[in-house]
């Protein structure tokens, strides 16, 4: 994989990172100079140190790499970093308030015991956030459908669905 230069200059005179991009990452404006073939997953993890973006399958199947792009869940492993240009990106690192208060979904996942190994959790929480932002009071089927692109190998999903219900209740208050 090519090296990422998040400061935007090209190194050593060779123009390997040919694409300048600027976007908002967890509420802050950022910029980078990247190769056109680089994945958003690699830029976020290695360029910006956001290791909450997990790589499971690397092929769009497991959802561990889910981020919100302009509010919609996408697989960062299938997303070219160049596509971040001009977008608003949310990763799990941007979910809690700056003072550290957890987002109601994060709190609900803890309360419902919806986290075991935790590898799927960032993607689950983000996919659930995009659902609740659009539908504050989803039924179980809608939750299952919204999370159908996110695999969990530990919990058996029941507690995850319960956590989303809990968070929805909390957020409607």
């Amino acid at each position: 994989m090519s090296e990422i230069n998040t400061r935007g200059s090209t190194s050593g005179g060779t123009d390997f990172k040919s694409v300048p991009i600027a976007f908002r990452l967890n509420g802050r404006p950022v910029s980078a100079c990247i190769d056109g073939g680089l994945r958003a997953l690699d830029l976020l993890r290695e360029g910006f140190g956001l290791t909450g973006v997990k790589e499971g399958c690397g092929r769009g199947e497991c959802g561990a790499c889910t981020i919100l792009l302009d509010g919609r869940p996408v697989n960062a492993c299938l997303l070219l970093a160049a596509k971040l240009e001009g977008c608003e990106v949310l990763t799990i690192e941007g979910m809690a308030s700056p003072d550290g208060t957890l987002h109601p979904l994060q709190a609900a996942f803890l309360k419902a015991g919806a986290v075991q190994c935790g590898f799927c959790t960032p993607g689950m929480v983000l996919a659930a956030k995009s659902l609740l932002d659009a539908r504050p009071n989803p039924n179980e089927e809608e939750i299952a459908r919204a999370l159908s692109g996110n695999f969990c190998r530990c919990t058996g999903y029941t507690k995850i669905i319960k956590a989303v219900h809990l968070a929805a209740e909390e957020m409607r208050r």
């Binding site: 769009g60 869940p73 697989n75 299938l78 997303l79 919204a146 159908s148």
Partner: protein
């Protein structure tokens, strides 16, 4: 090193494709990103056509519906003016994540025999408009696919429009079987459209995906159904004929025998849901 170009207009995009030898159009990238990364596809330059205003959106124009190829699968699935079969096919692709990024044009140009928008487009009388720097042509959906991952697109040519005739009394439906409910590549998919008036089926069209090297229409079954009132015998004959007409491949996802067996059940299910529909779809 891969260059990445975001053109501002369709004309600019076509000029670039004309001039650059190793430049590939990129829509959502849900198919192409992996190929570039695995180096299955050698590419020097990617041309991002996903945000070109000329290629995005669903528009009604006279007696036609025009879908921009860069419209996402999520938007296709939730466009009420589109026929049921196409909305359902798009809505069953992958996961919410895949549908937010992937486009209908990418699904078409990727030309996988199991593409879930393809059999719907075949039964809805879909026509594709193709354009290059040199000119434009329009072809029926059936004429576009040559084989797995092979289409009639020539170098420098883009799919620029998907056209459906607006037929208010035609209904349509889509069915798919995969390994599980969500996030599954079709082992078989099937679309039917027809006019259903006073208990008689007219001008039926049937297409099956994942059952031959390209998605295919099945005219022999369409002839059996045309003008019929759909008694048990006709349905049984048509279901048998559907299973006989497909040319399934045997791959890691399903055997030939299984695909023939399942296509009968999908066919019966699709047909009954079609005749139960109340409104235009």
């Amino acid at each position: 090193m891969v260059r990445y170009i975001t053109p501002h207009s369709l004309n600019e995009a076509l000029q670039i494709l004309d001039q650059e030898e190793h430049c590939l159009p990129l829509a959502g990238g849900t198919d192409l990103t992996l190929l570039v990364r695995d180096r299955t596809v050698q590419v020097e330059c990617l041309l991002d056509i996903s945000k070109l205003p000329e290629l995005v959106g669903v528009h009604q124009e006279g007696g036609e519906i025009r879908i921009g190829p860069s419209t996402t699968l999520a938007d296709v699935a939730s466009s009420p003016q589109l026929p049921t079969a196409l909305r359902t096919g798009a809505g069953w692709i992958g996961s919410p994540q895949i549908r937010a990024l992937g486009t209908i044009g990418g699904n078409i140009c990727n030309a996988s025999p199991c593409g879930d928008t393809l059999s719907p487009l075949l039964v809805l009388g879909g026509r594709f408009r193709l354009r290059s720097a040199g000119g434009e042509r329009e072809v029926p959906a059936e004429a576009f696919f040559l084989g797995p991952k092979r289409t009639i697109l020539t170098r420098g040519e883009l799919l620029v429009g998907i056209h459906l005739p607006r037929e208010d009394d035609r209904r349509s439906t889509f069915r798919k079987i995969g390994g599980r409910g969500a996030q599954t590549i079709a082992q078989v998919n099937l679309a039917i459209s027809a006019c259903w008036r006073e208990g008689i089926l007219r001008q039926p069209r049937l297409a099956v995906g994942s059952a031959a090297p390209t998605p295919i229409r099945i005219p022999a079954v369409e002839r059996i159904l045309d003008g019929q009132s759909l008694g048990d015998e006709v349905i049984a004959e048509a279901a048998e004929r559907t299973a006989a007409e497909i040319r399934p491949i045997c791959d890691q996802r399903a055997s030939d025998r299984y695909r023939r067996w399942v296509v009968r059940a999908l066919f019966r299910d699709a047909l009954s849901s079609l005749t139960e529909q109340e409104v235009y779809g």
